[in-house]
């Protein structure tokens, strides 16, 4: 094979926890990926463990999806279940969140983009309030510039899953005052995007999230490998920050 250094993973690409993994049908995509294929894809990558959920919850039936996730992942030691609540039906959120808490689920993923929710929608605000009151970690899609401000001042633990390099400055302004605000490195594609976060607010504000199976994994692990940061900061982003949230 060729001598390209980037073609083969190294130890600097190891990821203990990926917070952005799904499995199941997604009608807009040209093919679906079941849990077995997702596990195989992760097993062939530098990612050791992941927080995952079935697509049934966000797209069709939150209660049924949560039950499916808990059932399916019970036999998957490398995966931890993530719950969801449909913000279009927030009147049922309390029961859903109590069910998730009873099952020991610590992470709640919100799908505001797919469910058409805006930051000032009453249903969205209710779900967020109830989840934060229960001490859940929000895995939050959408633009942090829009969804970040209403989440401030609550002591919330939030992981923004869609932070783009273009809007990094706004995230850093938020993160300065919010120790619980984090973002995934997935779209921090600028030549020094990761370095800027580490240098300004610290590595504790970043975690790894690949969006497997919908995104390629190697671009994400290579960013971690080639980031000009310390080994300790790399380990925090790849593993330790999520372990602290899991504890």
């Amino acid at each position: 094979m060729s001598g390209y250094a980037w073609l083969r993973p190294t130890a600097e690409e190891y990821v203990g926890w990926d917070v952005d993994v799904l499995y199941g049908p997604w009608p807009r995509h040209h093919r679906d990926t079941d849990l077995a294929e997702v596990r195989a894809r992760l097993a062939g990558s530098p990612v050791a463990g992941a927080l995952a959920l079935s697509t049934r919850g966000p797209l069709f039936d939150d209660a049924g999806g949560n039950a499916e996730t808990l059932r399916d992942l019970a036999g998957c030691p490398e995966l931890r279940p993530v719950g969801t609540v449909d913000v279009r039906d927030a009147l049922t959120a309390e029961a859903r969140l109590d069910d998730l808490a009873a099952a020991g689920v610590r992470f709640l993923r919100l799908f505001t983009v797919d469910q058409g929710a805006e930051p000032d929608f009453p249903g969205y605000r209710r779900v967020v309030r109830l989840a934060v009151e229960r001490g859940m970690v929000l895995l939050h899609d959408g633009d942090p510039r829009r969804f970040g401000p209403p989440l401030t001042g609550r002591g919330a633990d939030v992981v923004f899953l869609d932070l783009h390099a273009y809007v990094l400055a706004d995230f850093l302004l938020l993160a300065r005052d919010e120790p619980g605000f984090r973002a995934t490195t997935r779209m921090l594609s600028g030549p020094d995007s990761i370095e800027r976060v580490v240098g300004s607010v610290g590595a504790r504000h970043l975690v790894f999230g690949s969006r497997t199976p919908f995104m390629d994994i190697s671009p994400q692990t290579l960013k971690l490998r080639y980031a000009d940061i310390s080994a300790d900061d790399r380990a925090a982003i790849a593993t330790r920050n999520v372990e602290e949230l899991l504890a």
Binding site: M1, S2, G3, Y4, A5, W6, L7, H30, R31, H164, A165, Y166, L168, A169, L172, R186, M187, S189, G190, P191, D192, S193, R196, T212, P213, F214, M215, D216, I217, S218, P219, Q220, T221, L222, K223, R225, Y226
Partner: protein
Amino acid sequence: MPIIDVHAHVGHWPFHLTSGDADANLRQMDRYGIDLQLVSASEAVVYDAVAGNAALYKALATRPRLLGYAVVNPNRIEESATDLRRCLDTGRFVGAKIHTTYPGRLPGSPEMAAAFDVVAEAGVPLLLHTWGTEVTLLPELVEARPGLRVILGHAGGDAWREAAHAAAACDRLYLEHCRTATDAGRIAYAREAGVPVERLLFGTDATLIDPCVSLGVIRDAHFTEDELERVLWRNAARLFGLGV
């Protein structure tokens, strides 16, 4: 084995990142083993095409590993036509670049049709920013202009499926997949749609995007050794007539 990056830029971008100057391009190229980079000036893309192209020429003059795209602004077509000829006459520019967002013109508009005519007449490859279903118009637009060869920069962006089918329908369309959001399976989809490996090119969007992102896409495409050579440099060398 060399690497030719057919989609890169030199200069500042108005975002919170360090894009640097032309020497930053060279440092990144050294880091990832990229031998040759085809670049346009960010100033020309975002702000002033003629001034940006002129500034880029100065950077190219002393850096043989960088070759230029002259940016054509479809809204200034006569001025851009003259400027394209001027740039190509320097011998340091090898193609044309047209963005769609900044000039606000898409394939299908009269302005873009005139810009395609200008590039076709110049006889050099066109790197076109593509980000939407208007890519479906490209086969007809290109077939109508003998000699025009178009690289679909970002391979259509969100419309990567439509871009794949467009490229499959016209043998003068090439796909280049650089993008921040690296949707899985784009290259496999294009090949299944009928795009031969000979019309896949490697691009990075450096120094706006770190090259490792596109290298990761290549890694996950699981090319054979022969296919890898084609995608990383042979196809580009043939398209641009580069003696690598």
